[in-house]
Amino acid sequence: MGIYTIESIRQLTYDTYEMTLSGDMSWIKAPGQFVNIKIDGFFLRRPLSVCDIDDRYMTLIFKVAGEGTKALSMMKVSSQLDILCGLGNGYDINVSISEPLLIGGGCGVPPLYYLAKTLKNKGITPSVVLGFNKKEDVFYEDKFKALGCNVCVCTVDGSYGYIGLVTDIMDMFDYDYTFSCGPEGMLKAIYDKSIVSGQFSFEERMGCGFGACMGCTCKTKYGYKRICKDGPVLFKEEILW
């Protein structure tokens, strides 16, 4: 646990914010891990994925989904947050792959950015499919492009990019592996559609976020797993829907 200082806060869309924080980043070991944030006035912490990190700064992106994230969006620069850092397993990038496809939907997009960066550093440039509901929701397309990734955006209503769901456009790319994060319905559709292996990042309501309460357990082919500790990333081969 640690105290982190808000260095900047920027509105990306009408309801989505990007926040950078400084503090002890040594807790974070892998892309796809998350942090759990104490917000004044709320009993439970709020889990958010790590979107980017270097030795001093961490970037989070969050959508205002309710009261907690609303309060977070109104925090001032240089104020401090109590955060449990480096939670969850994260994506395993030590798998043998050459053409990974990253697929993100809505607030599932953030962790894929640090994943893309990490893969890039390993010499693998992933292709990226980003799905949003409508034009006004789109964020980070340029950031992925700046990494050199091939990026395709789709919106459900067709107001930006391709029309449809991520599964409608994912086959535009050649890929031998998928990394995905987003709503469960999207993950399931990717699971059903893709014939290659992959890793899927799940969400669940959490009591603790570090494996103590059994609040977030799901069934897998290899037994019960805590989304917060043994996940949030599960391998395609172990998932039970």
Binding site: M1, K38, F42, F43, L44, R45, L84, E204, R205, M206, G207, C208, F210, G211, A212, C213, M214, G215, C216, T217, C218, K219, Y224, K229
Partner: protein, 304 residues
Amino acid sequence: MVNLSVNLSGLTLSNPIIPASGCFGYGKEFSEYYDINILGSFCMKGTTKEPRFGNETPRIAESSSGMLNSVGLQNPGIEHVVQQELKEIRAYYSKPVIANISGFSVEEYEYCVRRLRGIDNVGLIEVNISCPNVEQGGMSFGTDPEMAAKVTKAVVKVADKPVYVKLTPNVTDITEIAKACESEGASGICAINTLSAMRIDIKKQKPVLANITGGLSGPAVFPVALRMVYQLYKEIKIPIIGIGGISKVEDVIEMMMAGATAVQIGSLNLVDPYICKTIINQLPGMLEQLGIDDINKIVGAAHR
């Protein structure tokens, strides 16, 4: 030097702070945050005869100053706990722990308690007759004095350690249940478990919890727990472990003044994994401020 050590039916604790069942796992996750050997003891996740998945998710909801859970006693079963968890605990916790037992029949409680015989890193058995999150059994044992007496009698007979019975607040008169347990040989009483509760997601127009109802815990329930411990202290002679909503050192003192010999801290561990350590560090200073040299002197102080 302020004396912090307390005695629970022969088991001496270096201080009265015990993480509560279901909020501390088997201690392992917390041992990665701090050396948990500073704890008086800790209470393991509730164990049943057979392994249990528990309820469907969502199992967690939030409320003002608290939370609801409907985990439903997920646990790997007594055999696994004995063969694996209790052995692994020795690597990071050198004192005796408290084993929390649940069941769906008197025989199941008895079976689990018998299975714990001779295991020297279990110092005390906490019999949970109060879980609101399971369909049959569980809480129904805790709402009927006759059933409570039956379970107590059966487990006391086979236990080789002190038996404390953990009670539900979801009753009209908690003292009646406690007296039934005391008369059948319980060494102590733990109070309280969670309060039956629910939340509705107004966007979906549906209950938040898949199980519909869950148990409320956290600071919101502290005054309720305190009142019940106070009532229990008046009616029973055996020691009480006070549980419910404790979030700071002052709450520990209040709970002990109401009549608790030791306390358990539950939900707060989930949102602040260092809470027990913080409170243990603050206790001596707090007592000194109150002019107290031995923590045992405040037990039941509010009754005098």
